[in-house]
Amino acid sequence: MNGKFDIHRTPALANLERRLFLKRGLSLGALAMLTGCDITDQESVQRILLNMSRWNDGVQQWLFNPNRLAPEFPESRITKPFPFNAYYGEDEVREVDGASYKLELAGMIRDRKPWTLAELYALPQVSQVTRHICVEGWSAIGKWNGVRFSDFLARIGADTTAKYVGFQCADDYYGSIDMATALHPQTILALGYADETLPPKYGYPMKLRVPTKLGFKNPKHIAAIFVTNEYPGGYWEDKGYNWFSGS
């Protein structure tokens, strides 16, 4: 069992589980307090809506073409300034110390040695000018530089037959994507924005850039990456947003 399942022993994941447990407790409490006057909050309606959301995950997985590229734009189309967005305000952006930063790896990965920032910068870099689409509806075009995620997954010996890749972030955000999207050629571990070091507000030192998914599927300040077959959920997904959220 020790190969695949010691995912549960990493501190980042223990943390994540604690938080998930707390949140479930909280939402049960919230559910108990509801008066049921809003049709959306009724348990049977909730169940139908969540089942439909799961069904839509499957439909989107089926619609996802691993070879179809998101449109790329000339640099003149870049949105300036590129908007800041997070579950907290811009004055609460976390400062991560790059010198002591270590990217942790866990789960179904052969080589789980942590990565320093210098090692990540030394990997072959790519760039893209793509449209970031927020679940709220707005969109903005930006330029990201970084490491092709499929290359990185190959380098660390990730089991790419697994279902999910999960992310644990330094700002207590967490999320997960399907393996097919993780292996998409435009999915990158972004270390830079507009040819400069990724600034704190865009997720220093590293964020996931997925132009085939909505913005909240692009976690910032990534501290740990894990590969798993167990559905990891995500910060917003656990609050009701559709998990796949593909574009």
């Binding site: 509806g137 707005w138 009701g240 947003y241």
Partner: protein, 200 residues
């Protein structure tokens, strides 16, 4: 007295399912719009569905299946049975203008409920087209990468948002007129349940 069938069963069933589906789509759509308004106004939350963005998105992406599947049944039936051809054609701009003018002056008669006047034909055709545009622009917003040629046709992701909004406005406008007309000619109302009307 002669009782004739003016609304076939398929039309009656799909009509009422569509009422429910469009109501879900529009009210949840307003809540989604409020998360990032295109214009300097938003919709009062008392007339929106879902409570907040995630709830509204759940309704919208569940409701879309009801709306699209029901719409497909209606379109296939309408085309294959000749229902559209019989009820909505022929139609000419001149006749539409004439009948709309008459309607505005309160002179347009709708005695024979089995035959639509030109204003009705235009309104129902426009509604069908608006609903189709709604689906196309909706797909472009939902899947601007997977359906990128459709999205390009809709003016890309951002263009599709505006088309989606204006198609909604057109549908809401036509529905308002439609409901007002039913209230002005109330004997049309029961026919959408029974399908029948008695011609004197």
């Amino acid at each position: 007295m002669q009782t004739i069938l003016i609304h076939p069963l398929v039309v009656r069933i799909t009509h009422w399912i569509n009422v429910l589906a469009v109501l879900i789509m529009i009210t949840s759509g307003w809540q989604i719009y409020n998360a990032s308004p295109l214009f300097p106004f938003d919709f009062p939350s008392s007339i929106t569905l879902g409570g907040w963005l995630a709830g509204a998105l759940q309704w919208h992406f569940a409701g879309m299946w009801l709306f699209v599947l029901n719409g497909l049944v209606y379109l296939v039936y309408g085309i294959a049975s000749g229902h559209f051809r019989r009820k909505l054609l022929p139609i000419s701009p001149r006749a539409v203008l004439h009948d709309v003018g008459e309607a505005l002056r309160g002179r347009l008669a709708h005695e024979d409920l089995s035959v639509y006047n030109a204003a009705q034909r235009a309104a129902y055709l426009a509604l069908i087209i608006a609903l189709v545009v709604m689906v196309a622009s909706g797909l472009a917003i939902w899947k601007p990468v997977q359906f990128q040629s459709l999205a390009a046709l809709m003016g890309d992701y951002e263009g599709a948002r505006y088309i989606h909004f204006f198609a909604m406005a057109a549908i809401a406008g036509i529905v308002l007129v439609h409901v007002a007309m039913v209230m002005l000619v109330p004997r049309t109302f029961p026919t959408m349940f029974t399908g029948r009307f008695r011609r004197a």
